[in-house]
Amino acid sequence: MLILTCPCCGVTAEETEFHPGGEAHVKRFGPGSNDDEFHSYLFEKVNPKGVHFERWRHANGCGKWFNAARCTVTLEVFGTYSAQTTEPPQDIKDKISAKRPGWSWREFA
């Protein structure tokens, strides 16, 4: 069971109050992109064993979307942050680097 804090309204609650929304920071490709880009955008989800960035919705609360940084192996939540950003904020990145030395960062777009 996860405990998440909604950065939009500040409420801290367990996971039944939220709804998972899949991978965060997906770069969208539409008309004009090539087949590889479109295929990768539509289907090739990152599925890391370890640090993961995802979208969540405060479904039974304020109703807003936000992002969470979480470990898929230990279920530790490193932090939640606004969805209006293209990459995780520096303080969350620092926390993850400190807790998971050797974790290699992917490109965010």
């Binding site: 069971m1 899949g22 289907f43 090739e44 599925n47 890391p48 993961h52 898929t72």
Partner: protein
Amino acid sequence: MKRYSAFAVAREALRYHMGWERAWASPEPKKKYDVIIVGAGGHGLATAYYLGRNFGITNVAVLEKGWLGGGNTGRNTTIIRSNYLQDPSAAIYEKSRSLYETLSQDLNYNVMYSPRGVMMLAQTQHEIRGYERTAHANALQGVSTEFISPSRVKELVPIINIDGPRYPVLGALWQPRAGTARHDAVAWGYARACSAMGMHIIQKCEVTGISREGGKVTGVTTNRGDIACDKLGIVVAGHSGHLADMAGFRLPVESVALQALVSEPIKPCMDVVVMANTVHGYMSQSDKGEMVIGGGADGYNNFTQRGSFHHIEETVRALIETFPMISRLKMLRQWGGIVDMTGDRSPILSRTPVEGVFINCGWGTGGFKAIPGSGWGFAELMAKGHAPLCDEFSLNRFREGRFIDESVAAGVAH
């Protein structure tokens, strides 16, 4: 390998059971094999078995990071059925179901296949239409199913409540030759048969890297040293994305937890398998008398083999309305497995961008039933480069928009 038989049981009974052999050998890894299979779950072991049996390829190693059958194969609720909607699915699942019918004899190992019948309840008008359509599709595919009435449901399952206020039973899709089998025995039976053919099953051997040269696989790195191979089969369920990463490609797969639970053992009360997909719950009774219960998968990526409590709570809550008598049962154990979900809820049996690397994954919540058929098809794919059972399930189908969409028919654990 000494054969198991009634005579062997009698012979051993007379000599304090001192003559039983180990079911499979535990050899040290060699420097090189023709074929390496990563993952000694049912699908990996069945692939190795049919490589040997159907194609005479026996210089094979199956590498397993834990113990064989300790992944989803040993964690599932063992429902075997083949009443799928799409033709490619019906082909591979029905091949599999029919192999199960004689698997105990073929392997000389009792896998306890019990074709007790599987019933999928229709509890909404939408489901009635969906299952009637599936029954018609099955008739064309040569899979024996029928749509049955609520009174027939009650006759087959006396403990069911067919006129519940919220989830009335309006009918069911019934497959009389579907059923269950003993999950461990399926893995053990294949492992013993592979070992008897001289194949190496190497446990506690984790693959940590995949070596390539000029776009072609050359071998694997493991915690027990480097091992070379000509062909590599990746058959690791929830860890497929992780292994694909090592080989340098990505998969349309996400790993989530799926849970199951069993009750205390009780007297026989239900001799068929009942699935209720609207409420995301299903139940059968094991030979020991436990009620075996499963539900839907969790909603977020997870590698913990645990899962969230509220999912089993929802499942049990819904099943109690359909089976009021289980409300007083104590639940004994709960566990989870990491299942590999694809977007169309169909598996991937395919070549990959790396020459010599083949992948068998995406069985998600429903691959136990497919073990013999998948092994049969995937062995042919690895031996010959293509296979009628697998061709539709290639990795390219996503790029080409050729989905095998089973999520509309049964987007539920099974």
